[in-house]
Subunit: 334 residues, 2 copies
Amino acid sequence: MTATVNREIHLASRPQGWPTAENFRLVETEVPKAGPGQLLVRNRYMSVDPYMRGRMNDAKSYVAPYALDAPLDGGAVGEVVAGEADGFAPGDTVLHGLGWREYALVDAHSARKVDPDLAPVSAYLGVLGMVGLTAYAGLLEVAGMRPGETVFVSAAAGAVGSLVGQIAKLRGAARVVGSAGSAAKVERLTALGFDAAFDYHDRPIRESLKVAAPQGIDVYFDNVGGDHLEAAISALRPHGRVALCGMIAQYNDEVPPAAPRNLAQVIGKRLTVRGFLAGDHQGLRDQFVQEMAGWLREGRVSYDETVVDGVENAPSAFLGLLRGDNLGKMLVRL
Amino acid sequence: MTATVNREIHLASRPQGWPTAENFRLVETEVPKAGPGQLLVRNRYMSVDPYMRGRMNDAKSYVAPYALDAPLDGGAVGEVVAGEADGFAPGDTVLHGLGWREYALVDAHSARKVDPDLAPVSAYLGVLGMVGLTAYAGLLEVAGMRPGETVFVSAAAGAVGSLVGQIAKLRGAARVVGSAGSAAKVERLTALGFDAAFDYHDRPIRESLKVAAPQGIDVYFDNVGGDHLEAAISALRPHGRVALCGMIAQYNDEVPPAAPRNLAQVIGKRLTVRGFLAGDHQGLRDQFVQEMAGWLREGRVSYDETVVDGVENAPSAFLGLLRGDNLGKMLVRL
């Protein structure tokens, strides 16, 4: 039984600096009909992610900018309600890229069937999806973390950061340090098994890091950029590695921010700084899913979700994400 | 016949910002006597190098700072005039680390015999020495340049930069671009086989680079830092690599300089930025010497030297190096 009205979120205008509710528009459309090779999907959860902020600018990047007066998109999981395509049938749960709307018309070749009995369907947008792969690939493949090393991760109570810390411990890190933006988050990090955690508002990050990792760090997983990156470069030991995953501290800056002024240390300490996108590491996916599913089964990995209800509240979920209101993965339930 | 007076250069005071002649002092001492396992070496050439500026600060780094009121040190080549040690005899030409003085008392185990008939002895401080290895290892091992790629190198008329460009061409780079600080240097780069070269004073580096490499670059070999690094990050293509070798633009800054403000591109373009020191790449030395000696024999690599005479002029040679007065390797003949 399919409704006839679909609700979706359009980009009404491009944000200058911090986005506001006015940059978004709730639009009612007709539920589309599936043609050959298409699936009509009733979305159940959609993801809001920091990288979406970049796509709201009209700037060349690794993904095309969002178009004005058209629905936004992004990771979503839902149920096939109509459409015929090889290997799919109504009732299937699928993961795809057309979030920010209640009903999505998805090309079957860009949908992936997931098992709703193996894990809550929202997990496919988080711990078992791109979020989990980002943490896993960034830490193990990009930064090449080895057992016995000290790891620092920023935005550590976020979806990616909290997994980075837990994976690091499970893979033998000697010490894992996280930074976050509130006392409650710091407390949560300790509960998740981080050896040390601090609120980056409390004092200069460099000082907090010196207390948390007096011997220095070997790996920095960067979700933040700016002062965090500068402090990490100072704390890194010779031959240390940085995996650059995100720079949420500067996504809303109209003028690009001051960058680390201590890059000369990258030479003397022979550091490696690598940017990455999880999409380049699909070769790790099977290994990742197998290992992560095992950890989840054994209760060795925990993950948090912050859930907002209703597509009409997706913009405010996104704004909250940029402010750091979320613990773990920020999701919208549709 | 050994003189009895030795002249050496001491660090009289630590420079604040740009060094001046007053930071150095010419000191006469007695020529020392070689004890067991020691060689007394009459230095013929000494090297001045940009990294020495960092050692004049009282700051922790990968090498200890120079001491005040003591001789500076650095690469030098000279003739053994006295001393008995396994494998060495008076008349041997040796490469060692005690420059900035006419006579050096060298521990035999830290000297390396070189063949003065194979190449002019000064070459062991440049094209066949650490300078050459720096260019070779940085380009091929750190940046992993592959045939068909486009390479950009800054300070390209300097000792390291001019070799980077030539090695890149010999190893199959499709296009090699260099920046330098004068029209005469730009002309020299063209003569050395660079496909394009520009004077970085002429206009914003980003614009010059766009003209010189309209399709972007794959590898940036950085001797300069600052604006050059920022421009290179913007010009790099996806999966590009940066070998950070030096940051001469900022060695004399009292306040660390503005750093690249476009580091977010390191993520989207999945760039790798690696600092390195040639000393970590000694494993390449035999391969490097063999390949470089062949290129020199065949006349396929040229190298420039700027030679200043007399140990008393070593400070001004060093100051000239920091100002960019040199073409190729800056040397002091003693």
